[in-house]
Symmetry: C3
Subunit: 129 residues, 3 copies
Amino acid sequence: MPLVRIDLAKTSTPELRKAISETVYNAMTEIANVPEHDKFQIVTLHDQDQLVYPAAGYLGVSYTPNIIFIQVTWVAGRALDTKKAFYRKIADDLHAKTGVRKEDVFIVLSDNAREDWSFGNGEMQYAPK
Amino acid sequence: MPLVRIDLAKTSTPELRKAISETVYNAMTEIANVPEHDKFQIVTLHDQDQLVYPAAGYLGVSYTPNIIFIQVTWVAGRALDTKKAFYRKIADDLHAKTGVRKEDVFIVLSDNAREDWSFGNGEMQYAPK
Amino acid sequence: MPLVRIDLAKTSTPELRKAISETVYNAMTEIANVPEHDKFQIVTLHDQDQLVYPAAGYLGVSYTPNIIFIQVTWVAGRALDTKKAFYRKIADDLHAKTGVRKEDVFIVLSDNAREDWSFGNGEMQYAPK
């Protein structure tokens, strides 16, 4: 049920994009109680001047043109500690698998409701009984 | 007032994209109480590896590279049955008009508030009196 | 902490895109209590038929292919008057700096929570103490 938008540089490799996709999905299923096969993501590639971040950094974090924006829409209800572990796992695993700078992994979450999803077929699959 | 993001394959035809745009708008005005002419949509085209869905399907629904992601941001307040009818109409009408597989029509909704919209001119058109 | 998606025509100039980026950031820091250097934006360019607006206009506002969609995700809590001033400043400043039609500046806001942000490094920087 999460829909994930991943925005990053055109210069990224297909291997990196695949690793991001897998890492985010794994973090969801292992930590955030997302069901198996619930993997829906939209990747968009950008020229360098289309990914804007503060040159001076923010909150002690510094960024490069390899910044990766990960925007998640999912059903409300995850606990604060779950969200913390989710951020941690994505940054750590991505770094371990691909060498990506952890500072370049930017994540933002938005909540909606169970009734706000149609997984195809014109149905509201999560409708209350 | 809805803003609709439509993400689909680069290989889609302009005719299909136009049909999606019209179908979503019609479902909004006919079912979801959206005013006439309130039609704001952003279409983004993607290479095949940029639209990610589960190869094994999800909840009994199977997907193809022709998957269509429709992400709606609109003002809170639609009833559950309205949302159900909205999903149904979009999938049914799109299939009838274009032959698109209903399973490939993925829809997600996000709510905001009336004050969260400026339809141009620097104004908050939906401001409370 | 805001993440801003800016969608506009491929035919826009890099100078205009830079002006939009700066104008939105300045309006945030000057009016909406956004901290300095909190500047994260994703720009996506579109062919003309990918930016959809009502040909007849809406609520007395008319649009052209130069329409600029500005979608902001930020932490809940801004007052109604702050949002009003925010819309006003962006449209006025953009028009003054670049000649853009104010009617073509479309802005939509979405709220989330402080815990919904990781500004890199796998951390929840806004976590409660």
